[in-house]
Every structure is written in structure tokens, then in C-alpha cells.
Symmetry: C2
Subunit: 240 residues, 2 copies
């Protein structure tokens, strides 16, 4: 029955295509959440501060939808080799995307909890770090959509620069706090914001690793060229 | 050929059993990392501070091993219904466990970066929070091992108390910083340590949700009784 087999193949491809479309949509929303979060902090934009968390339920719903579709694909289509790796990677990647959305929402909420009215605290480091993280995230999501291992590898290498920004920001913020106790409140929030941005970069790197594995069947080296954890070593605050 | 079919079923059960054993081992290591991290902070124990990050590569290797086995199971055994949900949940849960190990390692590393020599900063809140998080994590891992939906539901409800501890600690630490600028260094690290603990609790809750879904086929309500993100709203620091 060749017609039935063609039909089966077609609807299999359709389901895989649908899963990719859901991932792309999820990636798009998460990217917009990160952009809103940064606008909320840097421009003290109340509307953006509300907009990022408001998209959370949609991201959660998409994660579940991808999971349901993946389970269906695994049960009914028994995908093999590259397709199977792609379905498994999708299950993991949606977890990373969901976390990124979470961090973005958390940044946006924090942005309304402090003000920098005295103008002494510069946000230019945060702005540069934010741009870089957004760029990495955009490329990681492109790598998913295009199943592009080279792009994934580039993202994986770029994370080191994010960590360097984070370390510089950490030091600057602690210095502000020591200079004036009135800076302690806002700088504490900014410390968490910087950390959340660094974590977003970390998850973009995770996504890149997973795409690379799904496409090539090989793992990137276990030791990353950066270090979400290692960077903590450089936060060597001397308190006196 | 009944003997071959029996053989197939047996080795399928064996592989599923092996996957469960790997998860249990991964859970055990991650639990010990969290215990080491807390000992490192609370007792300024250098050895424990080294021990937690030292286990990271093993956790990463186990995550990959579960993934490889899961892919094999999905490709060759085409598991259905509850078994399929369990394999998919395993892929997600190992991601949560890996993150928990990461947070524990990060706490342990930080513990060596400051000292509380002046004795003014109390760690009793952190100690209580740590005990609760460990308890939740232990129960979440039990729920995986025993595929116990009721246990999972209990963990899910218990996370609210972790958030309350975190909020109280956040306030106390900011107060210490404002009292004496020499507290800014150590308290900044303690803020991150408390946040990491809260995130560990969050991932234990994620695990509980996934176990619940794998066992019952139903999702826990989208709105959690707690709020990793919501708790940020209560960190309303007034800096002046």
C-alpha cells in the first residue's frame, strides 16, 4: 500500500515540522521577554516590566505542548537516529527556554523595585552585557530553527565574554555599595539582575550544546570555554 | 517464539531498571553535594567546599548516560503510556538534578570567598532553610525512585516555606549590609547562597511535578502554591 506509506511519512514530517514551529514560537516569545526585561531595567519602563512576566503562562503552555507532541511522536512514529535525537533535544531545549523566560520575568519584576534617582550608578555595563546575551540567545534560537551545528558552536564559544562582563559588573556594584549605603538596595537588585542575565547566557550555551549533539551525534567537549560556576571564583570580594 | 519474546520483555525491563538505577545514583550524588555545600558554608569546612564541585563531572556524566540509555530505549523498545512518560520525565529530571548539583557546587565555591570573623552575622536562618531544602530534595528523589505521586504532591506543597525563609534572609542580609559596610562583601555572597538554595528548592518542585505527571498522566495545577519568581516581589528593599 504505497499510498498509505506516503501518507504516514507525510504526517510524520508534518508532526516534526509542527514541533519545530512550536519551538520557534517559544524561542521568539522568550527572546521578546529578554528584550522587555532589559528595557524595563535600563529605561525604567513600567510597561515593559509588566509585559515580560505576562508572557510566562504562554511559554509554560508551549513547553507542555512540545512535550505532548514529542510523546506522541515517540509513541506513534518511533523516530530513529537524527530525528530521535532532535525530539529528545527538543524536550531538553524547551526546559532551557522556559528557564530563560523565568529569568527574564524575574529581571523585569525586579526593575520596579528600586530607583537610581541619584544618577551615580551607571547601567552601561549591564546594557552591553544585555546586548551580548540577546545576540547569543538569538543565534542559539537560529541554530535550533536551522539545525545549524556551526552556529551552535559559535554560541558556545561566545559565552566566555558574557562571564567577563558579569565579573566586571559584580565588582563595580560592590564598589557602589561600599561607597554609599543608600546604594545597597538598588545594587543588590542589580547584582541579581546581572546574575540572571549571566544565567540566561548559560542556558543559551546549553541550547547550543544540545543542538550540536542533535545535529552531529557528537558532544561538545565537557569543559566549556567559559564557566557559569567558574566565574564565581572571580567574585573575590575583599570586604575590608 | 515465546522464549524470544520473554527475553525481549526481560531486557526491556532490565533497561528501564537500569535507567532508574542511574537516576537514583545521580540523585544520591546531588543530595550529597547539597549537604557538602551547606557544611562548607555553615561550618566553614574547606574540605566540604572542595568536595561538592569535585562531584560535578560525575553528575554530568550520569546525565549523559541516562540520555543515551533513554534514546536507546526509545529507539529499540518503543515504550508506551506510563513507561514512555517515565522515560521522557527522566530526560527532564536529569536536567533538574544537574542544575541542583551546579547550584550546590556554586554555593560550596562561594563559601571559601568570605569570612564571618566578626561574628555579627547569624547563619541560623540559612541553616534552617538548608535543612528544609534538603528534606524536600530527599523526598523528591524518593518520589522518583518509588514513582510515588503522593510524595511528589507533598514536595510541591512544601516549597512555599522555602520561599518564606528566603524572603526573611534577604531582608536580614540587606540590614546587615546597611549597618556596617564591612558586611557588604560576605553578605553579597550570602545573598547568592540563599538564592541558590531557593533555586534548588525550585528544581526539587520541578522534579515533583514531573514525577506526578509521569505516574498519573495528569499535570499539577499551572499555578504553584509558591513562587520562585513571586518571592522576588517581596524583596522590596527600601534603600533609604
Amino acid at each position: 500500500m504505497p499510498s498509505e506509506s506516503v501518507h504516514t511519512v507525510r504526517s510524520y514530517e508534518q508532526e516534526l515540522g509542527r514541533m519545530r514551529a512550536l519551538m520557534t514560537r517559544m524561542g521568539g516569545i522568550v527572546e521578546s521577554q529578554v528584550a522587555q526585561a532589559l528595557t524595563a531595567v535600563i529605561e525604567s519602563d513600567e510597561e515593559a516590566a509588566q509585559a515580560a512576566p505576562a508572557q510566562d503562562p504562554q511559554v509554560d503552555a508551549l513547553e507542555r505542548e512540545v512535550e505532548t507532541l514529542a510523546i506522541r511522536l515517540l509513541a506513534l512514529r518511533n523516530p530513529m537516529a537524527g530525528d530521535l535525537r532532535e525530539v529528545v533535544a527538543a524536550l531538553k531545549i524547551t526546559g532551557d527556554l522556559e528557564r530563560i523566560g523565568d529569568y527574564a520575568a524575574s529581571i523585569a519584576r525586579r526593575s520596579t523595585r528600586f530607583d537610581l534617582a541619584d544618577g551615580r550608578i551607571s547601567l552601561s555595563g549591564l546594557e552591553s552585557m544585555g546586548r551580548l546575551v540577546q545576540e547569543n540567545l538569538r543565534r542559539a534560537i537560529d541554530a535550533i530553527v536551522q539545525q545549524d551545528a556551526d552556529q551552535a558552536m559559535d554560541v558556545w564559544h561566545a559565552d566566555r565574554a558574557v562571564d567577563e562582563y558579569y565579573t566586571a559588573m559584580f565588582r563595580a556594584l560592590v564598589t557602589y555599595m561600599m561607597e554609599d549605603p543608600r546604594h545597597i538596595g538598588p545594587c543588590t537588585h542589580l547584582l541579581f539582575i546581572a546574575k540572571n542575565l549571566e544565567r540566561i547566557g548559560d542556558h543559551a550555551t546549553n541550547i547550543a550544546e544540545r543542538v550540536y549533539y542533535a545535529v552531529t551525534g557528537d558532544n561538545l567537549p565537557a569543559l566549556r570555554p567559559r564557566g557559569g560556576a567558574q566565574s564565581d571564583l572571580t567574585e573575590n570580594v575583599s570586604p575590608r
